[in-house]
């Protein structure tokens, strides 16, 4: 799967040149609390949703959000603008979430990339459209998302909730582009299996 991809640092740099958040970061670097408040207002909900998706705990996610903002204050003067500010913020949040997962001791339970899908039943037996239709209720999908490993859940959130590019997700998760694709591929299969299983009436929420 060694494919060359057309998107790269160059497109990220192009994005950075028109990033409206850049001026805010510069002002934060100069000590502006007002700019901090404005940046928070622009990104807090998304960063919080990202942390909730991974931690499944709104209070812990709020702690992560607070930590992210402290880190932004500390590191604003070192922001180089190679990527969009939002990508930088998600990258900080990614590491803060990992810190929290480490504190909980849960990281090792849920970070498999390639092996998690091993031993899946024949996916041809599951009609994906029927599966997602039947599992249309948000609660059912939520339960299946919760069963994903952390790295898979992160990739799904960033690709489908945040609509980020593969390169941006790779930058946030500090991993190669191929790893992002693999994580999404397996996450998709696992979700299909979970939703198909629920459609068939098994105890998928256990």
């Amino acid at each position: 799967m060694n494919r060359s991809v057309p998107w790269s640092d160059t497109s990220l740099e192009d994005a950075a040149t028109v990033d409206p958040d850049r001026a805010l970061v510069d002002r934060i670097a100069a000590g502006s609390e007002e700019a901090m408040t404005e940046l928070y207002g622009r990104h807090a909900r998304r960063l919080h949703a990202f942390a909730v998706a991974r931690l499944r705990d709104p209070a812990a996610a709020a702690d992560v959000l607070s930590e992210v903002m402290v880190e932004v204050w500390r590191r604003a003067d070192r922001f180089e603008g190679r990527a969009r500010v939002s990508t930088w913020l998600f990258g900080i949040a990614h590491h803060k979430v990992i810190d929290e997962l480490r504190r909980r001791g849960a990281r090792g339970l849920a970070s498999a990339d390639d092996d998690e899908a091993a031993g899946l039943p024949d996916l041809h037996a599951v009609d994906p459209v029927r599966a997602i239709d039947a599992a249309g209720e948000a609660e059912r999908l939520r339960r299946c998302l919760e069963r994903l490993g952390d790295s898979h859940r992160e990739a799904v959130h960033l690709a489908f909730f945040e609509d980020l590019s593969c390169a941006e997700i790779a930058e946030i998760a500090a991993c190669p582009i191929g790893t992002v694709k693999t994580r999404l591929f397996h996450a998709k299969r696992l979700l299909k299996r979970c939703l198909g299983g629920e459609t068939e009436g098994s105890d998928a929420g256990a």
Partner: protein, 204 residues
């Protein structure tokens, strides 16, 4: 979906076709493939519905202003602490701790130095890093000096600067070549794994 390499590659691009972030060339190629591949179209349908479902399933509440207020309060406390003179005993203890750690680093460097550097070797241990790999490390507030010393010695690491106003130290990895990404990641991983001693670590 069949499991040929080409099929897998196309399948892996579907999420980015669905979320509209695919580059034009890849998008065009994938759309051509979709015209001739019914299972791939089914898969795209699933991915698109999954995307819609993920957006609908997000149940994160509005975090409100509290996380920001807590962050600003913490920043204010940290900055006040760096401005305010410490009690003499605390300043002395911190200075002694840093002195021991730096001294340990020098000893380690002397032990592992490829050749005796004489006076130049001592001169290097201030803020000059001479091409060495440098990490930025924040130690946990509750970390003991002995723990920091042991950890840094085990990595052949030396404090070369700090703490900054935000409590960040610059730590040089003496035994690691700048191009040795695996060794650098290994050292960062070992530091990060000691959450009881290291609060944050990143390559400079």
């Amino acid at each position: 979906m069949p499991e040929h390499d080409g099929d897998r590659e196309r399948d892996e691009l579907l999420p980015f076709l669905a979320n509209g972030t695919l580059e034009p060339e890849e998008r065009a190629a994938l759309e051509r493939a979709l015209e001739e591949d019914e299972p791939l179209r089914h898969e795209l349908d699933f991915v698109a519905r999954l995307r819609t479902g993920v957006k609908a399933a997000s149940d994160a509440p509005d975090p409100g202003e509290l996380p920001l207020r807590r962050a600003l309060k913490r920043i204010e406390r940290e900055e006040a602490r760096t401005r305010r003179p410490s009690p003499w005993w605390r300043a002395a203890a911190i200075a002694a701790g840093i002195a021991v750690v730096v001294q340990s680093g020098v000893i380690v460097r002397q032990l592992y130095a490829p050749a005796p550097g004489g006076p130049e070797l001592l001169g290097e241990r201030t803020t000059a890093t001479d091409g060495r790999v440098v990490l930025q490390v924040t130690f946990a507030a509750e970390a003991r000096e002995a723990e920091i010393r042991t950890l840094l010695r085990s990595l052949r690491a030396t404090i070369v600067d700090g703490p900054s106003a935000a409590g960040v130290y610059r730590v040089a990895l003496d035994g690691v070549a700048p191009g040795d990404a695996a060794a650098i990641e290994g050292a960062i991983g070992r530091l990060a794994a000691r959450g009881d001693v290291v609060r944050h670590v990143a390559r400079e």
